[in-house]
Amino acid sequence: MSQDILQEFTEQEYKYGFTTDIESDVLSKGLNEDVIRSISSFKNEPEFMLEFRLKAFRHWQTLQEPVWPNVSYPPIDFQDIHYYAAPKTKKQLNSMDEVDPELVKTFEKLGIPLSEQKKLANVAVDAIFDSVSVATTYKKKLLEAGVVFCPLSEAVHEYPDLVKKYLGSVVPHTDNFYAALNAAVFSDGSFVYVPKNTISPMELSTYFRINTEESGQFERTLIVCEENSYVSYLEGCTAPKFDTNQLHAAVVELVALDGAEIKYSTVQNWFAGDPKTGKGGIYNFVTKRGKCLGKKSKISWTQIETGSAITWKYPSCILIGDESIGEFYSVALTNHFQQADTGTKMIHIGKNTRSTIVSKGISAGQSHNTYRGLVQMNKSATGANNFTQCDSMLIGDQCSANTFPYIDVRNASSSLGHEATTVKISQDQLFYFQQRGIEMEDAMATIINGFCKDVFKELPTEFAVEATKLLGLKLENSVG
């Protein structure tokens, strides 16, 4: 009977599984140079962008899909995907009220109000629906402060020099198979530029919503912070429930110059597949990397990964500037049939660089959760320091957790600390809560929050509450 109770509470109803009834332009399936040219032409891109894409595509064609992660999935047929889908009614928007009401309704249902009256007060939102950005709030207000926040598709026209300088500088198309694919077919994403000595007056966020079945989502985000500037950015994502798997291969590049700080948070809630059969769900294969170019620069990654059938990503920091700092805080939850192989890479190149890794993996159901981390300290990284804390929580006895920490130190003056724990939510702990009058759901949520609080406290306040609720929801037996 005790096993039943745990089972009951790792069942979830994905409430974002609806689709939006809207007319979309959908490019027919298949991947070849014509598709690339079509995508570039739909977006009206300048010549240099088409070249960027074609170069990446030709390189991709020479590559083999990597098979080393601790996840298994049937082979992906790259020809069986729509590489572009956009709502028909998109046009150049001057006011939020011109956005298609169906889209506004969709985002509102997802908790992202876009209309002038209801938009979130302190957060600017770029709303991306399938392959295009459909709305961006507070663009003007941010520009007044000097901060550029717009879809990448717009940035290639308005800020071509910045794009040419930085796009592909952190994740070149030669980096890996999915980075090459993304560079060839990327749809849209956000571009953020913060000029020197500027603190962004608001939180920035991008919300990705997949709607078209059998389409791929290839978002591309670039954030550049010049000297002594600061920005905090959040990425959210959901998708409808489809029976087929969908590929989400994104690339995020961050660049921080001297004294700059970028805080990048993700709350990922892609459809995870049918809880009973494991069918469907998003493949989340992502390359995220930050370059701490400048002295005393800082990049922090905070991620709450709760969805996707398969999560495969290692948000990383390359610590080039002396005394630069890289941080990675992660909660990765897998349930039912989900699989995750996630972690981070901290590459220390500059002197006295510091990195902190706090990873919390929670496995339930029949899921597999793997942490894979690399801490590399090059010869030049004298006085470098890393602290890693890697904790796993198992719920029930059919799931698994693995840890593969790699440590590569090439100088004698750096220091590392590594701690790892494994815990299981026990029946006795749950009964203790219940005997004090606290319901099972609240008990689970509290124990899990206690486990994750070191990560939750890194999230921007607005989103910390959401993340707490989301985690509770994911392990709850509730109906929509």
């Binding site: 009964f431 005997q435 509290t446 206690g450």
Partner: protein
Amino acid sequence: MLSIQNIQASIDDNPILKGINLEVKPGEIHAIMGPNGSGKSTLSKIITGHPDYQVTGGDVLLEGESLLELDPYERALKGLFLAFQYPIEIPGVHNAGFLRMAYNAKRKYQGLEEVDPMEFEDIVKKKLKLVEMDEEFLERSVNHGFSGGEKKRNEILQMLVLDPKVAFLDETDSGLDIDALRIVSKAVNAFRKPTNAVVLVTHYQRLLNYIVPDFVHVVVDGRIVKSGDKNLAFELEEKGYDWLVDTVRG
């Protein structure tokens, strides 16, 4: 108030309780004693609804209402409390936060407004004095890194804050030194009032010097074989359990 009617229970198909009958009236203190393996701890677990045990017969009524169909949290909200023999540790969960959560769950159940952390601090500080615990215990994780005595006192603190109708104290005295025993007993005696009841499960007579019971029951092989007043406890201290065990097993 609490009526235990011919309760039979098993764990993994092994029968442990073979028909326990007990009436606990408001204002009373009952002591349940017995040799190891007699089933005395099982009784409190059954009544509070621990999922490892199956009730195979009989009924338990609290103020006339049967408890057996209710979930453990519902039974708690109706006024049952169990001070665990081995209180479990819950790392990462704030002790005061946990207690406030339980307190507010009860308030909500009673149709009262929940209290915020500040209001709760006032409430809990008063009770802290009764168990002579330092405020810093509130800031730690529940039972995490607590000594045995501190864990037991934390149980009593929770009892004082939640103010149940019937409190089961499961071998609360085991592992306590004289001072801790004195403190716990004082707190339990302060908790007593005409509208609540306490059931003490204990191995040794010593606790009963401090918390004087109205009734003493001896459980052997899953049944109550003898009941008496506090003098029965002295008799057991002198003679041990054998004389009673023999009468049962013939």
